[in-house]
Structure formats: C-alpha cells, structure tokens
Amino acid sequence: MDIQSIRQRADLSFDTAVAKRNALERARSRQLVAHNDHLFMADATMINLVHVLKQRLAVFFVLDINNNPCEIKDAEVFLQLLVQRNQESLNQYHQLCEQLKRRG
C-alpha cells in the first residue's frame, strides 16, 4: 500500500473515531430522564439495579444523579422508562456505527 492510501486510511479512521465519540456523547445526553422529580441516567447500571430491586421489594430507594435518595413506588413504570430511553439512544448509536462500518 502506498503512503497516499495509508494517509487516506488514517484520515478515515480519525473521522470514524470522531463520529463515534460524538454519537456516544449524544446517546449519553439522551439517557437523562426525570422520574418523581429526580433525574437519572438510563444506563446499564441503573437498569440492572432497578430490575434487581423490583424483584425483591415493592418499594425501594435509589440515588439520583445528585446522590439524593428517591423512593420508587412504581418500579414497573420506572423500569419501562429507563429501558425505553436507553434503547432509543443506543438504537441511534447502533445505526451510526453500521453506517461507519459500511464506509470501511
């Protein structure tokens, strides 16, 4: 491979890295959700925590983004909200990654 091709490949690689990082940041921004006047990140950690606590307790407490406790009485509604927002953001991220793959 000549140096010109390698440089083009390097530019493409840089472009891809920037696009992925920006899209991941967009996904993270989208994962911020409000519930019972508290803010949460709809990320894997929160989804797993709520899922586990819901199986054991009817009412439980979780910490919001500011480390304030929030009483969860409607776990199913809360979990649904978290999953929905998480998957919405990651679906968009997935679509972008697929586009990037096709570009090579």
Binding site: F14, V18, N22, E25, R28, S29, L32, A34, L39, D64
Partner: protein, 252 residues
C-alpha cells in the same frame, strides 16, 4: 409552574449576536416548545424576532475579550441578574449561541434541583481543547446553560455571583484564575465554590457539546450545523451545541 427560556443578546460594534439569537429562539420554540424571553438593549431589540417577551436593560459596556489576536467588546455583565430578569418560576438560561436540537433539557426541568449547570464539556472536534486545569485552582463550570428555579438557594447563588462580579479581581487572585477579563463561567464557578463545594449538587450529568473557536461553521439551520476544522468537514444533528465561532453568525 411556569417554565421558559431566558436569553441575553447584545450586539457589539464588532459582532452582531442577534442572528444567532434569532436562530436560538426558533430552535427553542421548535424543540422545547417553551416561551422565550430575551434580555437586550435598545440598539439590539429591533432585530429580535419571535421572542415572547423582551426585557430592556442599559447594559454595561466595560468588558473586553481577545478574539483572534484583537481585543473586542464583550457585553456579558448582565447575566448575574438573570434571577430578577426571568419571568418564569423555572428558567433555562441560555447563551444566544447555544443551539438546541433536542428536547433533552425538558427532562432536566422536570427534576427537583433548584440550580444546575454543566461542569464538563465535549469537544465535537475530538481534540479535548477545553481541558485547561492550570487556568484555575477550582473546578470549571460552564454558565452557557443554567437551569434554575425561583427558590432561596438559586437566589443566593445569583447574589453570590453578583458579589464575585463586584470584586472580580480579588476572587481571581484568591482562586488563581488566569483570565483577567470578566467571564461568567469563572464567576459562577467561584460563587458555587463559596456556597457549596459539593459539585454533585448542581452538576448536570451530561457533557455540554462545544464547537471550538477554530471550527468554522459553514451552515447552521433548523436541521443541524455543518462545520469545518483543519482539513475535516463534519455535521452535528440531534445534538445541542454551543458554537464558539462568533463569525458563524454571518452564515446563519
């Protein structure tokens, strides 16, 4: 509860801010569907379009900043009065050059926090050029997007910002801030440090997207922003973005 957006916009002899403010207003109405109030002066007010209300002030004109190796006027000294200027019980205070392409901020105003702003930024050019830890001995915050409720806590914070502003040189020395001209980001950082060293109480959990000064905006409209830097051209869509290139205003 009334919620709305407050924007400060003052044209200077060097930069016309109102085209960017008008785009900002349009995007807020489109994506957040909230009323917008603009704080402005009598020279800029005739150019403000589609705002739900305007607050006229006689703004201070004593501050300057470096812009591409020249010293230009910088009318940024009114923001500490946002608590008094806002007609809303819950306010999203935005820079005129913060372009809102999502409804993400609606989630934030549903939270119970009385005061929130960004303490992290994401450089959309991926060079992380906003990380300058040696410029100050306190953690940086960004006053570009400030969400506050009309409560005693928020009022205290804005009062402290005014106090810092009045004694800016003293506080800059105290915190070893390497930025001689008045800058709201530092004024808010110092005020918050005085009132509450626990950053987690007021920090937004997401990073603010920034387009650096050297990223040239080729086009900015209701769909997104096309920008270039070095030899790259890129596009921002569905991502709220703070645009630092004031020359971009010509291209809006």
């Amino acid at each position: 509860m009334s919620a709305g957006v407050l924007i400060y916009c003052f044209d200077t002899p060097h930069v016309l801010y109102h085209p960017m403010a008008n785009l900002c207003i349009d995007l807020v109405r489109l994506n957040l569907k909230l009323p917008v109030t603009v704080v402005t002066n009598k020279d800029t007010m005739p150019f403000i379009q589609n705002a739900d209300g305007c607050v006229l002030v006689n703004n201070q004109k004593t501050n300057y900043r470096h812009h591409k190796q020249t010293l230009v006027p910088w009318y940024n000294q009114e923001r500490s009065s946002a608590y008094e200027h806002s007609p809303y019980s819950t306010t999203i205070l935005l820079d005129a050059d913060y372009l809102v392409y999502t409804d993400n901020l609606l989630q934030v105003i549903k939270g119970a926090s009385d005061f929130m702003l960004h303490d992290r930024v994401h450089d959309l050019t991926n060079r992380n050029i906003f990380n300058y830890p040696t410029k100050s001995m306190i953690p940086m915050v960004w006053a570009t997007v400030v969400i506050f409720r009309k409560t005693a806590l928020a009022q205290n914070i804005f009062s402290m910002v005014k106090h810092v502003q009045q004694h800016y040189d003293y506080f800059c020395n105290l915190y070893r801030i390497d930025f001689v001209n008045f800058r709201n980001d530092y004024a808010f950082a110092m005020a918050l440090n005085q009132l509450s060293p626990d950053r987690s109480l007021y920090s937004l959990p997401t990073a603010m997207n920034m387009l650096p000064m050297d990223a040239k905006v080729l086009k900015a409209d209701h769909n997104g922003i096309i920008f270039s830097y070095e030899k790259f051209i890129n596009l921002v869509t569905a991502q709220d973005t703070h645009v630092l290139d004031k020359e971009a205003i010509k291209n809006v």
